[in-house]
Every structure is written in structure tokens, then in C-alpha cells.
Symmetry: D2
Subunit: 105 residues, 4 copies
């Protein structure tokens, strides 16, 4: 297993901490995605047909986007909404738009 | 670790088997991606800031697309080109277009 | 020119009407995009090289996304923020997420 | 109407000229898209609801991608296949991959 260095901690936190239920749901999806990535490695080792591998990669991308959008929804409902209610919405909305644009690439 | 079931083997193979160098290159990238997916799991466990997680997910998506495009290029250079030279290009090109459209979502 | 039927009017309006400056800015971009679409028609008529046409189509898509994101930003700053402040954020955020997902395809 | 300057003519041509039927089909789709772009302009003038405009923009993007993919398919079937048969596939495939990546953004 490769040691992957996390990006530096921005120190920011979700306004409302994720509940353990929320964490578990996201973690389950991510573990499944991790399994899919390992699955493609196996396909490469077994020299499986390129298009079959590509279909799997598309499936992982779709699954990641789905996780991303659910995080984005929670973020908007909590962090962005909270900032707006405090009259500090502008920065939060800018940040949201930027990450959305990155996502839509 | 989750046991992820691979899709049924279509039985097709790359016209030209991947060399061990080629395999290693792709596998290294995929291992790195696997590490990144584990990295996000850790970020969720540590309740890291939503936008920081989203930025990471975008990075993984970009990395997966890059692997996908390099596989697609190899596929076109070998399998599709081979089919065209045998006068059986139509099916191969149809298949390529379909997978490309899935990819561009 | 083809008569294109607008989708039925939902009757909803932006919380804060667009100023004439804002309208003009968006309209200028859209007129430019309209010109680009006519440009591709000319390229097809002149039997220009496929890849050159494709590059142009990508450029139009990028320009449309840019307009879309600027509208989305304004929408979030006004309509969504307003709904949140009135305690009716949930529906507005759901709607925003849906349109964002459509956009990222 | 804005005068939109076409990109400089690369001088390349489709290996097999588009038939007038093919031209007409593509042109009809592009005229419809042009009409849709004018439709959004009207929506902006009438200060229609932001999300309704965004849904329309997504629809245009989808329509443009569809035209793009059909051009790409024809290009692969003719120009790329022709280059491959002449043993000059590499450059054509590189070009195809590049434009595909631009498309998937």
C-alpha cells in the first residue's frame, strides 16, 4: 500500500460535526470505491480487455461524483447556510462556486 | 477491505498483450489513486472541512480520467487500428465512441 | 431562423430583478455564443476539417458553462441566500444541487 | 447579430467530403441550437427564473455534445481509419485523443 500524504489541514471544520451515522454512510461508499479501484488493478494484471476496464473507470468516476455531490449538499445546508445567516455568505458562496466548477470538469 | 466483485469477464483481450512495463505504469497510478481514496476516508473520520474533501475528490476524478485516456489511447492504437486494418473497423469504432461518451459525463 | 419554443414559464422570478447592466453583460456573452454557433454552421457548409469544428464546439461548451456558472453564482447569492434567511433554504438548496448535477454532466 | 470571426482555416479537409444529406442533418441540429441560444437571451430579457435558464443551458450543452460526438464518429470512421490504413495512424490518433479530452471537460 502506498502512503498517500493528505493535503495540509486547513484547520477549518464543518460547522456541524458529522454524526457517526453520516460518517459511516460516506465511509461505506468510499470503501466500496476503494474496492473498485483495486478491482481495476486486478483487471490490468489479468490483461483484461481495455474497454471493459474503461467502463469500470467510468463507474468509479460516477460513484465519486455521487459522494461528492452528497458532501456538497450537506456543506451547503450547514456551512454555507450558516455563513449566510451570519451575513458572511459571500466568501462561502465563492468557495462553493469554485469547488463546483472544479467538479464539473 | 471490501470484496469487490469484478464484472463478468467478456473474454475479449487486448490485441497486443500489455507489456510488464505498461502494466507496472498503470498499476502505479492506480495504487496512488487507491491511496488517495483511503486518504479521503481518513479526512472523513477526522471530520475535515467539506470543501477540502471535495477538492481531493476532484483530484481523484482527474487522475482517473488521465488513466482512462491513456488506456483509451493504447486501445485505439492497437485494438481499433487492428480492426480497421482487417476491414472490421465499424464495430470497434462504435464501441470506442460509446465508451468515450460515458467518459465525458 | 428556426422558431424555438421557450419552455413553459414556471412563473418564478429572481428574488432581486436583474439590473439592466447585468442583463446586458449576459446578453453580450450569449450573442457571442450565438455567433459562434453560426460560425460552426459555416464551417460545415464549407466542409471544414472535422477536428477544427470539434475544437470550436468545445469552445462554445466552455463559454456556455461560464455563463451558466455566473448565473448560478448570482442565483445562490440572491435567491438561495434569501430563502435560507427566511428559513426556507431546504427546497432552494435541493433545487440548486439538482441543477448543478445536470451541469456537471 | 455579432460578426464572429472563424478560426483560421487549417486547410485540412475531411478525407471524404460530407454529402449534402450529412451537411443538412448537422446544419438542422445547429440551427436548432442557435434557436435555443436565442431562446435563453429572451429568457434573460424577460427576467425569467435563474434555474429555468440554467436548465436550458444544460440542454444546449447536451445538444452540442451530441453533435460533437456524431462528428467525431464520422471523423474516426473516415479520416482516422484512412490514416491508419495508410500506416499514418499515429498522428491522427493523437489528434483524436486530444480533442476527446477537450470534449470531456
Amino acid at each position: 500500500m502506498e502512503d498517500y500524504e493528505l493535503p495540509e489541514d486547513s484547520g477549518k471544520k464543518p460547522v456541524q460535526p458529522r454524526t457517526s451515522d453520516e460518517k459511516e454512510q460516506v465511509l461505506n461508499r468510499l470503501k466500496r470505491i476503494e474496492g473498485q479501484v483495486r478491482g481495476i488493478q486486478k483487471m490490468i494484471e489479468e490483461d483484461r480487455y481495455c474497454v471493459d476496464v474503461l467502463v469500470q473507470i467510468s463507474a468509479i468516476n460516477a460513484a465519486l461524483k455521487k459522494v461528492g455531490f452528497s458532501l456538497m449538499e450537506r456543506h451547503t445546508n450547514h456551512c454555507v447556510a450558516d455563513a449566510i445567516q451570519k451575513g458572511e455568505g459571500e466568501e462561502a458562496i465563492n468557495e462553493l462556486m469554485k469547488v463546483m466548477q472544479q467538479f464539473s470538469k
